[in-house]
């Protein structure tokens, strides 16, 4: 099992040909108290780099971008009643969608944990 990251602050947990996607701890902290999460539907096709979900917090509305292309297998229905799961447990109970990976080569464009930590370090100077 491997966890990867994007510069737009999503995390991706890869298990065989399935990717579980959510936003990072850094992203949830920047957004503050999350009050609403809008997810795609099972069966929708995500396209790498395009918006697939929207998160609203008391500060702002933010878009979540697909780290990979693929079909949505499952979504985290618990987020509709409990959006705070994204704040409380961003990388576990606050997961957003599970996707069937269409093109394994896209994994190469993702960051590993060290590279992501480096990146957010630089963003904050």
């Amino acid at each position: 099992m491997e966890v990867k990251f994007t510069k737009s602050h999503e995390w991706i947990r890869i298990e065989e040909n399935t990717a579980t996607i959510g936003i990072t701890d850094y992203a949830q902290k920047e957004l503050g108290d999350i009050v609403f999460v809008e997810l795609p539907e099972a069966g929708d096709n995500l396209i790498q780099g395009q918006q697939f979900a929207t998160i609203e917090s008391t500060k702002a509305a933010a878009e979540v971008y697909a780290p990979l292309s693929g079909e949505v297998l499952e979504l985290n229905a618990a987020l509709s009643d409990n959006p705070q799961l994204v704040n409380e447990s961003p990388q576990s109970q606050g997961w957003m969608v599970k996707v069937r990976i269409r093109d394994v080569s896209q994994l190469q464009s993702l960051l590993d944990e060290d590279a992501y930590k480096d990146f957010i370090g630089k963003e904050n100077k």
């Binding site: 009050v35 702002a60 705070q84």
Partner: protein, 483 residues
């Protein structure tokens, strides 16, 4: 004071008996209205007249308004509205006319609409205005529909609209609603549009750029003429979001900056009431070659007779029923005539002076986002205060205890812990000094008693509101308990 809602104050049998018993029998009503639409009881509270008067008078005393307190919200000009505007809009010859009235009976009202259009053309350099849209966002939508119609008519359809990352949220929403793809251009570290980046993304598929100038950081886009060249060379348009027009009135006009389509929020810049959902007016202005695309009807004049003209060749059609919010136009027109050309310019100059005064007095206490001179609003980043344990949200809440409405916070999105202040032109030096000293006092409280901020405000009838809980599980409807 008893702050129960009025239904809970009801006392069975108490009433204000100013209505006589109805002398007509309602027995037959069931013949005309299906039983499922009829109710046996109306759940009106039973109260005496004085109970009702005190209830509402006391509620009104809880209002926080610009008529009572300083209201320095940024990015949306929330200015004081002179009472003369209200007096004139209250004249019964304006207030009692009906949209179905014959045009020859409302010549005065039509003349006002016509003349207001002419005056706004003079202020902005545009060729013609439409007053149908009821808000800035609606005017934006109509404006982009005009741009799309123009390109389509010329068999030159385009798919992209460019928007700076500091833009008002309505801009990308409008572009997206019109079916355009939104392309975001980053700002330079100074907070202006990155013109080099812009020139890379503008191409033959670009329909327009949507800009507000000064931008939401309160900075004048100095390279606006370069931006205009880049877009116009590709036959794309410049759309001006007039939400920040206040500091430019009478100083520079949008046409000279290269804009082709603009909206002015009459309920911001031109001092008609703002907030609580309107009524507002998004005055939509266009350059000469787009005149025939405006929504219909527009008011025209022939042989000294004013009339509604429905015959614009390429009109995008109606965007609202009837003729827009007419009484708002009366207020804006009164404001403009009262000030005149020189007065409007003084408004602009004072709005800038007031913001710069605040910036200079506070820049050693709060980090100013840009070193450049600001226009009508100034943005601070309260990152340093957050590192000391107090968020900008808590600073805003504490300001209420000083009798000051919280400024805009967490916007623009590109600024961390943003606090945005727009004092507007009408505030006196004493008021500005009060705000400045409140902000300084808050800053020293942060150093000595940061824990206090968790509970502010302390002086309001309702203390800290749980906004997160309200947004996560809104309770939108009162339900009768018991009985």
């Amino acid at each position: 004071m008893n702050r129960e809602i009025i239904f809970n104050k009801s006392v069975p049998g108490r009433k204000s008996s100013f209505l006589n018993e109805c002398g007509v029998s309602f027995e037959d009503i069931k013949q005309f209205i299906p039983a499922r639409f009829l109710r046996e009881r109306l759940e009106f509270p039973s109260l005496g007249e004085l109970d009702v008067v005190r209830h509402y008078i006391n509620l009104s005393k809880l209002n926080f308004s610009v008529d009572a307190n300083f209201y320095p919200l940024g990015s949306c000009t929330m200015k004081y509205n002179p009472k003369l505007n209200e007096d004139l809009a209250g004249i019964k010859e304006f207030g009692s006319i009906h949209p179905y009235q014959d045009q020859d009976l409302v010549q005065g009202a039509l003349k006002l609409v016509y003349d207001l259009g002419k005056v706004l053309c003079a202020v902005t350099g545009m060729s013609r205005f439409s007053f149908q849209a009821a808000a800035g966002a609606q005017a934006e939508l109509a404006g982009l529909l005009i741009i799309r119609a123009y390109h389509n008519l010329n068999k030159n359809s385009r798919s992209k609209v460019i928007i700076p990352d500091s833009a008002h949220g309505t801009n990308p929403a409008t572009a997206s609603m019109c079916g355009y793809d939104v392309v975001v251009v980053k700002s330079t570290p100074e907070g202006l549009v990155d013109v080099d980046e812009l020139s890379k993304v503008v191409d033959d598929d670009t329909a327009a750029i949507m800009l507000t100038n000064p931008n939401t950081l309160g900075l004048f886009e100095e390279r606006i003429l370069d931006i205009s060249d880049i877009l116009h060379k590709k036959k794309a348009f410049l759309y001006y979001d007039g939400a920040n027009f206040n500091p430019l009135m009478g100083v520079v006009d949008p046409f000279s900056m290269g804009f082709d389509v603009i909206h002015l929020n009459l309920h911001k810049t031109f001092s008609t009431p703002h907030g609580s959902g309107g009524p507002g007016v998004g005055a939509l202005g266009v350059i000469d070659k787009l005149k025939e695309f405006l929504p219909v009807p527009v008011v025209d004049k022939k042989n000294d007779v004013y009339f509604f003209n429905y015959e614009l060749r390429n009109t995008i059609g109606r965007v609202k029923a009837f003729y827009g919010n007419f009484l708002v136009l009366v207020k804006a027109y009164a404001y403009i005539l009262r000030l005149g050309r020189q007065g409007l310019k003084r408004v602009a100059e004072n709005s800038v002076l007031n913001a710069r005064y605040i910036k200079e007095k506070l820049k050693n206490h709060y980090k100013a986002v840009s070193l450049k001179a600001c226009m009508h609003e100034v943005v601070f980043s309260c990152e340093h205060q957050r590192d000391n344990g107090v968020s900008v949200l808590e600073i805003a809440k504490r300001l209420i205890d000083f009798g000051i409405h919280p400024p805009t916070i967490y916007f623009p999105l590109i600024v961390k812990e943003a606090l945005m202040v727009e004092p507007t032109e009408t505030e006196s030096k004493e008021t500005l000094d009060h705000f400045i000293s409140a902000m300084k006092e808050i800053n020293s409280e942060i150093q000595f008693s940061p824990q206090k901020f968790k509970y502010a405000p302390f002086t309001t009838p309702v203390r800290r509101v749980d906004e997160t809980a309200a947004a996560r599980s809104p309770d939108l409807r009162w339900k009768k308990t018991g009985g």
